[in-house]
C-alpha cells in the first residue's frame, strides 16, 4: 500500500509550550486513520501543521513522497489535501449548492477562465451528485445558514470531498451532532471510503464513532504519539487507558 501522508518528527512549540513534540505517523491509501487523545494533547495543532495553517517548528510532512512542509493551505488543497474544522465552517450566505461549487471551483482552470467562463465553473452536476450522495437533495437551493447544525456538519464534510482529494482531514466531525445524524455521517463517510476509495484522518472524541469507523488508530498524549494500532488493540493498551484516566 502506498503511503499518502507521512509525518516525521513534527514539532510545534509556542514559547515554552511544546504543543506537538516529535510526532511521526503515516496514512496509507484507502484507510481511515483515527487520531485520538485527551484534550490539549496536540491533535488539532498537528492538523494545522500538516495543512500549513501553522508553520511547524521542526519536522517534515510528505504527501505522496513529496515534501510539502510549510506550504500555504490553498496550495496544499490544490495538491489534494482537504479538511474540515473543529468549529463549523460553511458559508452561511451561499446556498448548499454554491458552497459545494466554491469547494471545487479553484481546482479547475485559471483565474481568467474563472472570470470569463461559466458561472458555476461547470460544477453544478458534480455538486448535485455530491449533494445526492450526502442525501441533502431537498436542501440544494437553501442558504447554508438556514440548515440545522447536523446538516451543516454534513455539508462541511461534503465540501471537503468535493474536489476529489487524495486525503481528507476531519477535525471532530461528530462534535455536537445528534445521534440520528451521527449514524448518517458515519454511514456516508464509510461509503465514501468504500465506494470512492477516499483516504482520511479523523480527530474525534466520540470513542464509539472512532472505533467503528477507523481501520487504524493513533493515540496522542502531551504532544507525542503514545500508541498506534487497530482499534481493539489500542482500546486494551494500558498506557492509553492510563492517559485517558489520568486526565
Amino acid at each position: 500500500m502506498a503511503r499518502v501522508l507521512e509525518v516525521s518528527g513534527l514539532r510545534k512549540h509556542f514559547g515554552g509550550i511544546k504543543a506537538v513534540d516529535g510526532v511521526s505517523f503515516h496514512v496509507e491509501e484507502g484507510e481511515i486513520l483515527g487520531l485520538i487523545g485527551p484534550n490539549g494533547c496536540g491533535k488539532s495543532t498537528t492538523f494545522n501543521c500538516i495543512l500549513g495553517q501553522l508553520a511547524p517548528t521542526d519536522g517534515e510532512v510528505r504527501l505522496d513522497g513529496r515534501v510539502v512542509t510549510g506550504m500555504r493551505p490553498s496550495e496544499l488543497n490544490r495538491l489534494g489535501v482537504s479538511r474540515t474544522f473543529q468549529l463549523l465552517q460553511v458559508f452561511p450566505q451561499l446556498s448548499v449548492r454554491e458552497n459545494l461549487i466554491l469547494a471545487g471551483q479553484e481546482h479547475k482552470g485559471t483565474m481568467l477562465s474563472r472570470l470569463l467562463g461559466p458561472r458555476d465553473a461547470g460544477l453544478t452536476a458534480a455538486a448535485d451528485r455530491m449533494i445526492g450522495f450526502f442525501k441533502m437533495s431537498h436542501l440544494a437551493g437553501e442558504k447554508a445558514g438556514g440548515l440545522s447544525y447536523g446538516q451543516q456538519k454534513l455539508l462541511d464534510a461534503a465540501m471537503a470531498f468535493m474536489a476529489g482529494p487524495r486525503l481528507v482531514l476531519l477535525d471532530e466531525p461528530a462534535g455536537g451532532v445528534n445521534l440520528t445524524m451521527l449514524g448518517d455521517l458515519k454511514d456516508r463517510l464509510q461509503a465514501m471510503n468504500r465506494e470512492q476509495g477516499a483516504t482520511f484522518v479523523v480527530i474525534e472524541h466520540n470513542m464509539d464513532f472512532v472505533m467503528s469507523l477507523c481501520t487504524r488508530v493513533v493515540v496522542m498524549a502531551e504532544g507525542r504519539v503514545l500508541a498506534e494500532g487497530r482499534p481493539e488493540e489500542v482500546r486494551r493498551n494500558p498506557a492509553v487507558i492510563d492517559a485517558y484516566l489520568g486526565h
Binding site: S74, F85, L94, Q105, E106, H107
Partner: protein, 331 residues
C-alpha cells in the same frame, strides 16, 4: 421564473426612465443626474471591495481624485479623453493593488485606519505637488470629450456619456459578481480561513478586490473631471470617502443595486432637503442612524429580509401541502 421576469421588467423600466428623465429637466437637474451616475460608479467599486469581498476602505474618494487628476492633467495637455480614461483606470488599479497589501495583514478597523492614512496622503499630494496638480489653484477648463464625432460639451450629451459609462461598469460588475470570482469574494468576506482551506487563493482575491474596486473609483473620477470642468483638491478629502461609504451602507452593502440607491439618496437628499438649509446634514445623519438601527444591511436589506421571509413561508406551505402527515423529524 416570474421573479427574474419581474426583475428584467424593472430593469428595463429603470433604464428607460434614466434615458427619458433628463429631457424633462433643466440644466441643473441634468448636472445632478450626471453626478449621480458618476458617484454610482465609484460606489459600485467600493461595494465590490467592501460589500462583496468584506475589505473596508476609507480611500475610495482618493481614487476618484486620482482618476480626476489623471484625466484633467492629460486632457489639458492635449491628450484625448480616452487616454486620460485609460490612465485613470491603470493608475488607480495599480495603486489599489498596492493598497490591498496591508489588507493581507490587518482587518476591520485597523484596515480602515490604513486606508484613511492613504486617503490623507493622496489629498496632500493633490494639494502640495503643484508641479503636477497646480495645487490649491486647481486645473481649470477640463474639456468634455467628443465621442464618435459627437461633442458632449452640452449637459445632455455629457449626461448620456456618463450614463453609458455607468451601463458598461454595471454590466461588467454584474458579470463579475455572478462569476466564480464573485463567489470567491463572498467566501473571503464570510470566512477567509475556510476559503483558504478550499483552495481559494485569498491573497490574490483580496488584492484583486482592492484593485478593481479602486479602478472603478478612478473611472468615476475620469468622468467627474469633465463633468465639473475644474479639478482642485477640495472635493477629494476624507469627506468624499466617507460619503461613498455611506452610499454603499445606506443602499445595502453586498447587494448589486445597493450603490445605485445609496448614491441616489446621497446626491438627491441635499436637493430635496434644501428648504432645511444648513440642517439637512443633521436630517441625513438622523435618517442614516435610524436606518442602521432598523436594518444594518441597508435599505435593500429590509427588502431582502421581506422577500426571504415570504419565500420561506411559501416553501414551508408547499412542504406542508406535499406531506400532510407530520412526522417529528420534518420540523
Amino acid at each position: 421564473m416570474t421573479r427574474s421576469l419581474a426583475a428584467w421588467l424593472a430593469g428595463i423600466a429603470g433604464a428607460a426612465a434614466l434615458v427619458l428623465l433628463p429631457l424633462a429637466l433643466n440644466r441643473y437637474g441634468i448636472y445632478i443626474l450626471s453626478l449621480w451616475a458618476v458617484m454610482t460608479i465609484a460606489a459600485i467599486g467600493l461595494n465590490l471591495t467592501l460589500g462583496y469581498a468584506g475589505q473596508i476602505s476609507l480611500a475610495q474618494g482618493a481614487f476618484v481624485g486620482i482618476g480626476a487628476y489623471a484625466v484633467a492633467i492629460l486632457t489639458t495637455s492635449g491628450f484625448p479623453f480616452v487616454v486620460g480614461l485609460a490612465a485613470a483606470l491603470a493608475v488607480s488599479f495599480a495603486v489599489g493593488w498596492l493598497l490591498g497589501y496591508p489588507a493581507l495583514r490587518v482587518q476591520h478597523h485597523y484596515l480602515a485606519f490604513v486606508t484613511l492614512a492613504f486617503s490623507t496622503l493622496a489629498y496632500l499630494v493633490f494639494r502640495n505637488e503643484e508641479w503636477l496638480t497646480k495645487g490649491i489653484y486647481g486645473i481649470v477648463g477640463v474639456p468634455r470629450p467628443s465621442v464618435l464625432g459627437i461633442a458632449t460639451a452640452k449637459p445632455l450629451p455629457f449626461y448620456y456619456l456618463c450614463l453609458g459609462a455607468l451601463a458598461v461598469v454595471s454590466f461588467a460588475v454584474w458579470w463579475l459578481v455572478r462569476s466564480p470570482w464573485g463567489r470567491a469574494f463572498v467566501a473571503l468576506r464570510e470566512n477567509p480561513v475556510r476559503a483558504l482551506s478550499l483552495g481559494v487563493d485569498t491573497r490574490r482575491y483580496t488584492l484583486m478586490a482592492f484593485a478593481i474596486g479602486s479602478a472603478l473609483g478612478g473611472v468615476a473620477g475620469a468622468f467627474y473631471a469633465p463633468l465639473v470642468e475644474f479639478v482642485d483638491p477640495t472635493p477629494f478629502t476624507l469627506a468624499l470617502s466617507l460619503n461613498l461609504l455611506m452610499m454603499v451602507i445606506v443602499g445595502g452593502a453586498g447587494f448589486f443595486l445597493g450603490p445605485f440607491l445609496g448614491a441616489l439618496i446621497a446626491v438627491l437628499l441635499p436637493e430635496w432637503l434644501r428648504f432645511m438649509e444648513g440642517w439637512y446634514l443633521i436630517a441625513y445623519a438622523v435618517f442614516v442612524m435610524v436606518l442602521l438601527v432598523i436594518s444594518p444591511t441597508g435599505i435593500l436589506g429590509i427588502l431582502d429580509r421581506h422577500l426571504t421571509a415570504r419565500r420561506t413561508r411559501a416553501a414551508s406551505q408547499a412542504r406542508a401541502a406535499a406531506k400532510p402527515v407530520l412526522n417529528s423529524e420534518a420540523a
